[in-house]
């Protein structure tokens, strides 16, 4: 590859820097502000430190109200962790079946699932709430867990990936060796589909973790809240208890860190999955 002229490179670097400033400034503000107390939060310049005591501040967030924040955080992990794991396995099985077994009505099933990708999730959340309250499921862990286990996009991705990455000859060989279909899926299928499965898991994990509308609609018991919902109740009370502003900021930082690590470390998988999904779309 030839090196572009210097002028060109300087221009590129400065544009990228400006963009990076835009995307990182709010995160930087959050990190700085999480070390401040409420008075400094309002009284000092936002982009610089004032009496930083990060550990004390974050400790106060974790212990406030008998450690309710820790509970919310655990709830979020539970909803996103279990939900995304289940969604990945279900999508893998469905995608594999749609890719590898010809049966009547297969394309119809696939099209209905694809339509599910295009349905706006929040348009479904309200009806889902009405349905779940009739079934007695509203305001329980199930209300947020169950919808999280369904990923039409995951099925789509898994089908495309399985079609390309699982050779029929290999399945046939396993059959000749006497392996049952479920064993073939559990051993061969899952292993060959692993890169796609990591992508599906990541997407679904972030999707559930970031979802606000569904838990807002479904839950009224604050002990079941995920982090996001909990934090908005804090801001709701912050007018009366100004210290909650400080806790909201600290809690926001704590809630953002794990996901950011996950995204940075596993970035490679985002791109693989996106390439497979985007290319064939």
């Amino acid at each position: 590859m030839t090196t572009p002229p210097l002028r060109h490179r300087i221009l590129t670097a400065s544009l990228l820097t400006v963009a990076a400033l835009y995307f990182l400034t709010p995160v930087y503000w959050l990190a700085v502000s999480a070390t401040k107390n409420t008075a400094d939060l309002f009284g000092t310049f936002g982009f610089w430190f004032a009496h930083p005591h990060p550990l004390d501040r974050l400790g106060a967030v974790l212990t406030y109200d008998h450690g309710v924040y820790v509970r919310w955080f655990a709830n979020s992990l539970l909803y996103a962790g279990i939900g995304a794991t289940a969604a990945t396995l279900l999508a893998a099985a469905a995608g594999f079946a749609l890719a590898k077994y010809p049966f009547r009505g297969r394309e119809t099933v696939f099209r209905v699932v694809l339509a599910g990708v295009l349905l706006p999730g929040t348009a479904l959340a309200l009806p889902l709430y009405f349905l779940f309250s009739d079934l007695g499921l509203a305001d329980t862990y199930w209300a947020v867990l169950l919808p999280g286990t369904v990923s039409p996009f995951g099925v789509y991705l898994c089908r495309i990936y399985a079609t390309a990455a699982v050779p029929d000859a290999l399945l046939e060989a396993a059959r000749i060796d006497g392996a049952g279909e479920s064993r073939i899926f559990a051993t061969l299928g899952l292993r060959l589909m692993t890169p796609a499965l990591v992508t599906v898991f990541l997407f679904q994990f972030v999707h559930i973790w970031n979802n606000y509308f569904l838990p807002l609609v479904m839950l009224s018991d604050s002990r079941l809240y995920p982090v996001q919902l909990g934090l908005t109740t804090w801001t709701g009370y912050a007018d009366r208890h100004p210290v909650l502003y400080q806790y909201t900021v600290g809690g926001a930082l704590l809630s953002v860190v794990p996901l950011m690590i996950l995204m940075t470390v596993l970035q490679r998988y985002w791109r693989t999955g996106l390439a497979d999904g985007g290319l064939k779309a």
Binding site: S33, T122, L124, F130, P152, T232
Partner: protein, 327 residues
């Protein structure tokens, strides 16, 4: 991405294309066995798909054409007397100026924000592609990072950066002699647009980069030998080749925009311009919970899904109709 097809005498379907329906060449026993295996693998997903996607949709349609006659005091979704209402709820929703103006607002929002975000994402993807290798991973991660910030947190965060008195941005602007009010009646929609752009540009950029990576490098070499400069390369080779990804990001952005909820919900206490009908979703939510009218809310949810379908399919039609036969 085309893989070498593994050829086998009796199964002519080992290609990476969407498969055609079976031609019935397999012996019957294998087919039964396969159908059973497919059913076992598909059923768990399908059962939950029906419960969480199809059933609520059906239930919403059912609810939207009924109404409750209340005899007692407040009772959410109360059974007492539910009667068929025809399209009354739809007529009521469509006759409500607040609901309609909410729709108008998200459409205006989408018409401005989506093209802006996709242009920005494309520009960043192309810049990262052409930049020298050092620093690229850092920039890519920096741009992508906001995708990991949930909408609620992003809105809280930007909320602090918008409110005068705490926002360092307003403070800096004030020192420079500029008075900005991010939360005023006619600016708050664009402040919301900024939050959404901040969150999703990096994600869309990554989708585009993924597709750019799939372009065979020989193509660039050939173009360069023909004397194409960086701009020609981007305009005539890269952008046409990432069209499918651009369409994909467009469709997902349209669906996302129509559902706009968390951002205005969080900024609502800060901006008086944001009322309970600011977006269609906010309107449906308040009808269901504070207005205690689940039937109207159901009709509004159905309308929202319908508009999302029409717009995203329309967009797919429009983009598929123009030009390429790729994809």
């Amino acid at each position: 991405m085309s893989r070498t097809a593994v050829t086998r005498p009796r199964a002519p379907r080992a290609h990476a294309r969407p498969a055609r329906p079976p031609h019935g060449r397999r012996p019957g026993r294998t087919r039964t066995r396969h159908t059973r295996a497919a059913a076992v693998l598909l059923l768990p997903f399908l059962a939950l798909f029906v419960l969480c996607f199809l059933a609520p949709l059906g239930y919403a349609v059912y609810q939207s054409v009924h109404r409750t006659h209340r005899t007692g005091p407040l009772g959410l979704g109360g059974h007492p007397t539910e009667t068929f209402a025809g399209l009354d709820n739809y007529a009521q929703a469509l006759g409500d100026p607040t609901f309609l103006s909410g729709f108008g607002r998200v459409l205006l929002f989408g018409a401005v924000q989506i093209p802006l975000m996709i242009v920005l994402a494309t520009a960043l993807a192309l810049l990262l592609e052409s930049a020298s290798a050092r620093g690229v991973p850092f920039f890519r991660t920096a741009f992508f990072l906001p995708y990991g910030v949930p909408g609620v947190i992003a809105s809280l965060l930007w909320g602090f950066l918008y409110v005068p008195g705490i926002s360092p941005l307003v403070e800096i602007a004030g020192h420079l002699g500029v008075q900005i009010d991010f939360l005023a009646r006619d600016t708050v929609l664009w402040s919301l647009a900024n939050i959404v752009t901040w969150q999703f540009t990096g994600y869309n950029m990554l989708v585009l980069i993924a597709q750019l990576k799939a372009v065979p490098p020989e193509l660039y070499e050939a173009a360069r030998i023909d004397g194409a400069n960086a701009w020609h390369l981007a305009r005539h080779i890269k952008i046409p080749l990432i069209r499918p990804a651009l369409v994909l990001t467009g469709v997902f952005s349209i669906i996302g925009t129509l559902q706009l909820f968390a951002e205005p919900m969080v900024l609502r206490p800060l901006a008086s311009a944001i009322d309970s009908g600011y977006t269609p979703n906010l309107h449906a939510y308040s009808e269901a919970f504070t207005g205690d009218n689940p039937h109207l809310a159901a009709a509004e949810a159905v309308l929202l899904a319908l508009v999302a379908c029409v717009l995203s399919f329309g967009f797919l039609r429009l983009t598929a109709g123009r030009g390429t036969d790729r994809g």
